[in-house]
């Protein structure tokens, strides 16, 4: 079933260290099956470009296995970073898990 959504919640500062951890964690989730990932950024205080690039790497892996990845509850700093790097075209941002699953449902 393609609407299987897993939520990951990175904490604090999303930099290269934390981002690599996130990439590994999601990699473990992808091990066997197709999964959709929602990155809940509620607890993310700050994200730098390296953290963002780790998110793209994660997106790449998730897409490769047929799933999709979206963000939710991003703060102002993260939004600004996404806009400045024009990444807001690449990442979809949803308010809730329901909204994400709705969009996957309509896509399918």
């Amino acid at each position: 079933m393609s609407s299987d959504i897993k939520v990951v919640r990175p904490l604090g500062i999303l930099d290269s260290i934390c981002g690599n951890q996130l990439r590994r964690d999601v990699g473990d989730l992808l091990e066997s099956k197709q999964v959709n990932i929602l990155v809940d950024c509620q607890e993310v205080e700050f994200m730098d470009s390296s953290g963002l690039s780790c998110l793209i790497m994660t997106l790449k892996n998730v897409r490769a296995s047929g799933g999709d990845l979206a963000l939710s509850k991003i703060n102002g700093q993260v939004r600004l970073l996404l806009e400045l790097t024009a990444m807001d075209n690449i990442f979809k941002v949803y308010d809730s898990i329901e909204e994400f699953s709705q969009s996957i449902f309509t896509l399918n």
């Binding site: 690599n20 470009s49 690039s53 780790c54 490769a64 024009a86 690449i90």
Partner: protein, 669 residues
């Protein structure tokens, strides 16, 4: 006041005694810049005067087919000279204090983390080992520097070498001490966590007890009141949490994170790591840019700064401590050092394996000296791929923007994000393009004129020519893809600097004209200039002499022999420059015969055929005309004299490649 007393050549600012100055770095106009400007202005005026005379008074209308190309070549050269002069207008010298001497002091715990990327392709493992050892020996806290061998050749030998080196490094006293330190810190954290966990049940129980007591209004007893006070005090300290339980749990989480962090630090002590990216057949690999980007995005590298080293460039221990201070600025409002907008610091390249006389013209004190200092003065110091420190945030941030563009055009580019998302991969000179993108994104660069790494230069003509061809092709490629004159974000001076470099690679066409004109005269008597008499000398000689003098002032301190060598190569590589322009414009890749790595003892005449043909015809022409002169059939000996001197000048410039083609090391003679 400028004095003309000659001083011993000093290209190395570290030689100069560091005088005391406030702050951590300072820059000032390079010495003798005023003298240079004075001569350069006169030179340009005289050049203009000569050119207008050429256009108005000396164009041979009877031989326009020759006169016009020569005039165009002369105008091209003049514009090149103007651009070069403008680019050199404000060369600066810099002085910095090393990291540990900075004032106010930057505590060692706040020093940034660093990744050293040693990029290799098919170099020998022994060569890379020397470089990796030197990189590990860089004077910097061992917990903050990791050396990565980025092996694009994926060789077993290299992998084994890296592992061996890693273990060896771990056994060094410095590393052992560091490991012990981290272990102790980790143990302290674990002990704290244990204690916290022991306290947890009773704390929870107490809080629960208090809650029931309050709800039943049983707070009269002394002990309950004390407990209540204590509880409130705890909550007052951390107002974020509603209960002590939440507080304790957050603390537990924090400790667990910190322990994990120490564990990562411990594993980070394996300081010599090997990365060989997968290179699936049929997919673009994006060469060196792809290699570096893979390490940045998929290689689990985390350093705040990246030092890029070619496989054979051996860094000196003081490299980082001398370069890193540029990347922070002291904020006197909050008393802290903060990141600034410096994206990269480039240091010079020099070579340890140059044969006497440098037959291939590798020495580049002119570029890694006045030229880079001139660029630095206009905030456009170039990145040249090795011996530089880059700010990861700048590379990734800028790379992401360009990736977003690529993604907007084709969503499939996501598949190769790890190869294209950082350093520019769209041209074969990834370094120049990357710097230009950084500049356009508002980042700054610095040229630090101190030799901090020494490398090996190609030691045969074939690989030398191949390297030059790649530079020329790549530069022109960047120009066609991202024209600096129209690229948004660049300042006027940055546009000028990049354009000047690209412009200079079109010189091949002008050079051909300069080489062929005298030959045509010798055999046909046709001249592109109507007046080769006194008038010509009067207009040409002053411009020529001032040009030479200005050049000498620019290259002050650089051996005249090296200046001459660089001039020789600027002319004699004309077929290569033409080839480069043609290949980019026709979008056809050049097939260049790759020769084995070991130097071949043969003579490389096949690589310089065009130069040999021109050389031969020039000599033939001179002798032919000389013969006519002896027979008394030469109509105008003065014109012959001018053309003969011109030819001799050409021949002496061309001689460099012929010498290089026949050059053999002493031992094999």
């Amino acid at each position: 006041m400028i004095t003309l007393t000659s001083k011993p050549p000093s290209l190395d600012t570290s030689n100069r005694k560091l005088s005391v100055f406030p702050g951590n770095s300072r820059s000032f106009l390079k010495r003798r810049t005023m003298l240079f400007r004075y001569f350069a202005e006169i030179n340009l005026l005289l050049g203009f005067w000569y050119l207008q005379w050429r256009v108005c008074n000396s164009l041979n209308y009877d031989a326009l087919w020759l006169a016009v190309p020569l005039l165009l070549a002369e105008i091209y050269s003049y514009i090149g000279g103007v651009l070069f002069t403008l680019g050199m207008w404000r060369p600066i010298e810099r002085q910095t204090k090393p990291l540990e001497e900075m004032s106010p002091a930057l505590p060692a715990t706040d020093w940034p983390t660093l990744d050293a990327f040693i990029t290799c392709y098919n170099e020998s493992a022994t060569m890379v080992e020397t470089t990796a050892r030197a990189a590990l020996a860089i004077d910097y806290p061992v917990t903050k520097l990791i050396v990565y061998i980025l092996d694009d050749g994926n060789s077993q030998q290299m992998r084994e070498m890296a592992q061996r080196l890693c273990i060896e490094d771990l056994q060094s006293p410095l590393l052992r001490a560091a490991a012990e330190q981290i272990q102790t810190e980790r143990q302290e954290l674990i002990d704290r966590l244990d204690m916290l966990q022991q306290l947890m049940p009773d704390t929870y129980a107490a809080e629960k007890f208090l809650a029931t007591a309050i709800s039943h209004n049983q707070t009269e007893s002394l002990s309950t009141r004390f407990l209540q006070n204590f509880h409130q005090l705890l909550l007052l300290k951390e107002q974020k949490y509603a209960t002590v339980e939440a507080q304790v749990q957050a603390e537990q989480e924090r400790l667990k994170q910190a322990i994990l962090h120490k564990q990562i630090e411990l594993s980070g002590l394996a300081r010599c790591r090997y990365i060989a990216r997968p290179k699936p057949a049929g997919k673009p690999h994006h060469a060196k840019a792809g290699n570096i980007n893979h390490a940045i995005f998929a290689g689990e590298t985390t350093g705040e700064f990246i030092i890029t080293l070619d496989a054979d460039h051996i860094p000196k221990p003081q490299f980082l401590k001398h370069v890193l201070p540029y990347f922070v600025t002291y904020n006197s409002w909050n008393g802290k050092y903060e990141s600034n907008r410096i994206a990269l610091v480039q240091t010079p390249q020099d070579f340890s394996n140059l044969p006497p006389g440098d037959p291939y013209g590798h020495q580049a004190h002119l570029f890694y000296g006045p030229i880079q200092q001139g660029k630095d003065g206009l905030n456009s110091a170039f990145y040249t791929g090795t011996n530089a420190v880059l700010r990861r945030e700048a590379i990734v941030n800028t790379g992401l923007k360009y990736f977003a563009q690529a993604y907007a055009q084709d969503e499939k580019s996501l598949d190769e994000f790890d190869l294209i998302g950082g350093v520019s991969s769209s041209s074969i000179t990834e370094d120049m393009n990357t710097a230009m993108r950084l500049h356009a994104a508002g980042w700054q660069s610095i040229y630090h004129n101190e030799l901090l790494a020494i490398g090996l230069a190609p030691d045969d003509l074939s690989s030398t020519l191949q390297q030059r061809l790649r530079w020329a092709q790549g530069t022109i490629q960047v120009m066609t893809q991202e024209n600096p004159l129209t690229k948004p974000g660049l300042s006027f001076w940055q546009r000028l600097q990049y354009f000047q470099t690209m412009y200079s690679y079109f010189s091949g066409f002008a050079m051909v004209v300069f080489l062929i004109c005298p030959i045509i005269f010798f055999f046909t008597g046709t001249v592109p200039v109507t007046a080769y008499g006194n008038d010509f000398v009067r207009h040409f000689l002053p411009a020529f002499i001032f040009n030479r003098v200005t050049f000498l002032i620019i290259g002050w301190g650089i051996p005249a022999r090296e200046l001459w060598r660089s001039e020789q190569y600027a002319l004699s590589l004309f077929p290569l420059f033409i080839q480069a322009v043609w290949s980019v414009i026709s979008k056809r890749s050049i097939h260049f015969k790759v020769t084995p790595k070991e130097r071949q003892s043969g003579v490389y005449f096949n690589l310089i055929k065009p130069q040999l043909i021109i050389f031969g015809f020039t000599i033939l022409g001179m002798s032919w005309s000389l013969g006519l002169f002896i027979l008394g059939q030469l109509t105008d000996p003065f014109v012959y004299l001018v053309n003969a001197s011109w030819s001799i000048y050409n021949l002496s410039l061309l001689w460099s490649v012929i010498g290089a083609a026949t050059w053999k090391p002493e031992s094999t003679k």
